[in-house]
Structures are given as structure tokens and as C-alpha cells.
Symmetry: D2
Amino acid sequence: MNKVILVGRLAQDPEVRYTQTGKAVASFNLAVNRYVSQGQQQTDFIPIVAWERLAETCGNNLTKGQRILVEGRLQIRSYETADGQKRRVAEVVALSIEFLERKQTAAAGGGSGSSFDVSSIGSDVFPPEEEIPF
Amino acid sequence: MNKVILVGRLAQDPEVRYTQTGKAVASFNLAVNRYVSQGQQQTDFIPIVAWERLAETCGNNLTKGQRILVEGRLQIRSYETADGQKRRVAEVVALSIEFLERKQTAAAGGGSGSSFDVSSIGSDVFPPEEEIPF
Amino acid sequence: MNKVILVGRLAQDPEVRYTQTGKAVASFNLAVNRYVSQGQQQTDFIPIVAWERLAETCGNNLTKGQRILVEGRLQIRSYETADGQKRRVAEVVALSIEFLERKQTAAAGGGSGSSFDVSSIGSDVFPPEEEIPF
Amino acid sequence: MNKVILVGRLAQDPEVRYTQTGKAVASFNLAVNRYVSQGQQQTDFIPIVAWERLAETCGNNLTKGQRILVEGRLQIRSYETADGQKRRVAEVVALSIEFLERKQTAAAGGGSGSSFDVSSIGSDVFPPEEEIPF
DNA sequence: TTTT
DNA sequence: TTTT
């Protein structure tokens, strides 16, 4: 079992890229608040990645500031820097996402949001394990 | 491990009662939607109970229709009916609750909600195991 | 989100039945311990159901007393008794199961278990929503 | 909500250190297996930290190779290297741990383990937010 | 019995 | 009705 469940807001619009074999990869940071003591709040910015159909859906439906619920797994990825140093980066591979707010449209500049019901998207295939192109 | 995480809307206002020793108990049903196929949606109405300080906070801050996240544990409680039949009832004992929407005020009749940030309450003590007075 | 994660032991061998359309359904109770105070332990017996391929795997790989981890969702099912009373029953619909112990063989009568690694099975299709034949 | 649930084996014995104010901090990596395809398995080594009473319990009860369940939250910590580079490190702050196997004693050199029941420890206070001394 |  |  490797399960992560987060509720937070997108720190920026998702960035969708494509691997050499054409698989979509969306990535963004999720700002997750934590209440340390009363009046005190701390934020973790947690890197999220989504693959394929879920990645496309992220690109088409999520915008900066929107609140979502992410379910996924925690992955530690190793890589080497240009000058040969080994680094590790952690990210949450999203397997399903629930919208807790309607997308902010540029036109509406905010919109109601309050009456929007949860809807949910999931990855229909297991995420591929190709190299991420960034 | 006995962990339950639910996102849904209150099907009714919380009902707060008190045990003989004065402990507060809040109870309500949470309407949790599930997307069976496209356009098709099914709802589970899941009984939630909260104890003591968390119960008071539920009574003071939650209203019918409001969307929340509940974290707790699944409990199977046995009881006997008036005519001596054994029955079992399942309920989720809430240990913490996150508000995903601001409380609907009677006055505002809806309100903005959209810009409300998640806030969270937790049970500061372990829930007691007294008999529930209903 | 409707997520349940349980760690416990099978209270009995799984029972595998088949719907009229031939879908396998496994059911069993999971004994989940909780530590109320030191030396004090309470047990919830939580009904689990699994469907189709996961049901078959349960029937073939799980036995009474074995410890497993169940991930699924909490479902409230309504039915009528023979004399027309409405009842509700709660159960956890398993979506994946991890073995935390090797199966107890009748021959070995226990076995080592200690060196067994977690292995995991999941439902490859969404569970059907037919009537359960019991 | 920032929830992480992991099942895995300790990749090494926990290391217990103390902050300048005397708070215990335990840290270790958890090896979490994932089944990519049949016969194929991949392992994430996920850094775990525990604080105070939970840290002491880790030091006294956990050893390399032991399988446990960790519940906690995902934290991204920023720090600067000696030469002034900003780095980020992810770790799971454990809030409770369940033993899925008895501790391997040096004497027993392995032991049965198979008949050990789950027991559970939790952090009785919220983890402090001091600087970690490493 | 919630909501879109 | 599990298990230690």
C-alpha cells in the first residue's frame, strides 16, 4: 500500500507535456494548507504528476487556484544533474482527482463555484513508467 | 488500521444530543455521490457520529447541504430492538472534519462559498465508548 | 471520495457465490482490532464483499484467520425482509486486497509466514451493481 | 487533508537523534514495493520521520527488515546546502505506526513473526516544527 | 434525506 | 466470528 490523499489548491496552471512516444504528462504543484496552531497556517507545495487521459483532463479542466482532491501514490524518482550529481525528487502520481470547485473561467473571473458538485476523474490505465521529459 | 475518508454533503442538519454523563454526540447522514457510468450517479447515505468537542463544533458549524470531508473509523454497533431482535448498525465515527464550503446561513440562503478556504477540526480526545442515547 | 482502508483478520473462510448472470461474489467478515486503552482491545466485524476476478482470488487465496489489508468503499445497501420491513446493511466493497501473511495451509497448520512479502490483487473491472444473491 | 498511508519494510534500523531542546526524532527509509506487472516489482525508498514519544517507540521497537504500516503526512522541507543552493526534500511525518510483524531479535535471528498480532502506536502530541538536526 |  |  502506497496511498496519498491530498486536498489543496493548484499553485499554478497544469503544464502538459508529451513523452517521445506521445504519452501526455501533466504536472503542477498543489498548495496544501496545514493549521499549526490557531491563526497559524503553513503550506506545503507538493508536486503532482498525472499521465495520459488523466493528464489531458487536468490540462482541460484545472486552473491555478482551484481546489481539488488528489488520490495517488508517493514516488521517489532519482536522476542525475548535468554535472553528475545524484538527486532525488518526490512527487505524487495522481490516480484520480475530484474537483471541489468549478474551473475559474477567464471570462467569469471567478464565478459562483459554491453550487458546484464534486465530479471525479480517474486514470483508466496504469501510469506508464517512461522517463518524464523534464 | 480502520480508516474511512468521505467527501459528501450533509443530508440534514446535525442533531446534537447528550449522554447521561453529559458528553455531546452529534449525528447526521452524509450523502456521498458515486459516478457509476457517465450521466449516472448513485448516492450512499452514510451515518456519521461525532463526540464531545467535535460534536459541538458540528452542531455550531454544519448545516444541511454543506459539503465536508470526514475522516474517521467504521464501527459496527450491535443493539436489541424493543421486541428482542438483534440488529447491527454501521456508522462512521468522525475523528476530524474539513469544511469544503462555508456554512449556509439562513439569511444569505446560499452565499458565496467559492472563496472559502478549507478549515479543519479534530477530536482532541479519543471518542468515549458509552452507549449512544438513541 | 468514499475510501475505506482496513487491516484485520478473516473471521471465516470467504464464501463465493454467483449471480444469475454468472458474476462471482466473495463475502466474509474482517475482524479489525482496536486498542481502547492499554490491555483493552475491541473488535469490529466488518462485512466485506468482492466481485468478479477479485472474488475468485479471494476464494482461492484467503482463509480464516489470515491477516490482510482491504481497500474499498463503504456501501449502504437497502433491502426488504420477507415480512416487508425495510433494512439497511453496510458493507465494504473491496477494490484491492494485500496479503500480509501467506495462506494457512491445512497441512502446514500455520507455517512460517514471517518471510512472506506483501502481494496485492485488485479488481480489474468496476464491481457490478447487480443484486447480491443473499 | 494531507494523508499518507504506507506498508513496507524498514530499509535500515531507525536512527534516533535529539534536537537542541531535547525532542527525540527518529528517521529511517521505508522500502515500499509496487507490482508493475507480473513478476516485475519496483521499490520506492521513502524517508520517514517520527517525533517525540513515537520516535522513542520506533527506536525501541523497530528494526531493519520489519514490516510496518505508517500513517502520516507528506512534508516538503526546504534547506540550503553548504554552498548556498536551495534544495527540497520530501519526507513522511509519521503520526501512527502499526507493527505488522514482531521485531527481529538479534538472539532469535529471525523468529516466527507469523503469529504476531497488529499493535499500534501513535504520536500523542502534534509533532513539533523545529529544525531537524540533520 | 444531499447536490449539480 | 479473527488474532496475540
